[in-house]
């Protein structure tokens, strides 16, 4: 495989003929060599899903790299930029697939499951303390109603539900991952400021929920 500088990668990929073909072939090999490391936490190379995923991700990465060549600013090595693109494509696909598989299992498995023990009333606390905690929970729920928009509430519920990936939640909310993060950041900031205004600490709130 030919070693290239950033400038050489760009020149070859923008050219036509054998130089471009050779650069594409080298890039393909580079991506395929890196994916086992990138995916090692999720998928073993022995897994039957591994090679089809690698082929799909490699193809999609090459297309995206060629499409976005103009946006490469040279702040890293060209191949690092390509690895970043390949990783985003691979993990997005893996998360989508994992979530699709697990969400169906969970819907079936969790039918009629009992409430977790931490949500039961605390038998050690007196009735007065329990009443205070119940009031706090009602108050926090009111704050959520007042401070969060319906879209923010929906986003929070979706993302926490069976670990739905950001991309999937963004698709359902007809937005993108970037805007979804901003939507949630705005929600967290509003809540933080409201609690601060009312002099309620997160610890107080958590204590009320944990011993409900």
């Amino acid at each position: 495989m030919t070693t290239r500088t950033n400038e050489e990668w760009l020149k070859d990929l923008k050219s036509t003929g054998p130089a471009r073909d050779a650069a594409l072939e080298d890039l393909r090999a580079t991506i395929q060599k890196s994916l086992p490391y990138a995916l090692s936490r999720w998928l073993s190379p022995e897994d039957p899903l591994f090679m089809p995923l690698v082929d799909e991700v490699t193809q999609e990465t090459l297309l995206r790299v060629l499409d976005q060549l103009g946006s490469f600013e040279g702040r890293s090595m060209f191949t690092t930029w390509v690895h970043k693109i390949a990783i985003r494509i691979a993990l997005t696909e893996l998360r989508r697939k994992r979530w699709q598989d697990s969400s169906l299992d969970e819907l079936v498995d969790n039918e009629d499951s009992p409430a977790p023990p931490r949500l039961m009333a605390d038998p050690q606390a007196g009735p007065e303390k329990n009443a205070e905690r119940a009031d706090m929970i009602v108050h926090i729920r009111r704050i959520l109603e007042e401070e969060l928009t319906p879209k923010q509430r929906q986003a929070i519920t979706l993302l926490s539900l069976q670990d739905m990936p950001m991309e999937e939640a963004a698709r359902r909310l007809k937005t993108n991952r970037n805007a979804l993060y901003k939507l949630l950041h705005d929600a967290r900031l509003r809540l933080k400021r409201r609690l601060s205004l009312e002099d309620i600490s997160p610890q107080d709130v958590l204590a009320a929920f944990e011993t409900k």
């Binding site: 490391y37 970043k84 990783i87 319906p150 900031l189």
Partner: protein, 102 residues
């Protein structure tokens, strides 16, 4: 579970006026402690991730150079996964040899 039951459960899960479950409220409240006024988005992180990862591999203090990016990686699970995957690739490629400080 019949198909009708399944569809009904999915609809009930995704109905827009559903109350946020207690567990989610607790997660949300916990996240407030690491919420800053200024945070960068997943898109900002993606733009700089290759530069940031190389900086880390070279042994530079990447967190100090890009504190907003560092904070985002600490609070956003998916960006953190992508960053760690990129680090693993760089650690196992020739880049770590070429760019490591002498």
């Amino acid at each position: 579970m019949t198909l009708q039951d399944f569809i009904q459960r999915v609809r009930s899960v995704f109905r827009k006026d559903s109350r946020i479950p207690d567990e989610l409220i607790q997660d949300l409240i916990r996240s407030l402690e690491s919420t800053n006024d200024e945070e960068c988005s997943c898109g900002d992180v993606y733009t700089l991730l290759d530069q940031y990862a190389e900086s880390e591999i070279r042994g530079e203090d990447a967190a100090r150079l890009m504190p907003l990016l560092r904070h985002h990686i600490q609070v956003c699970n998916e960006c953190c996964e992508e960053y760690e995957a990129l680090l693993r690739v760089l650690e196992n490629s020739s880049l770590s040899e070429k760019t490591r400080s002498p």
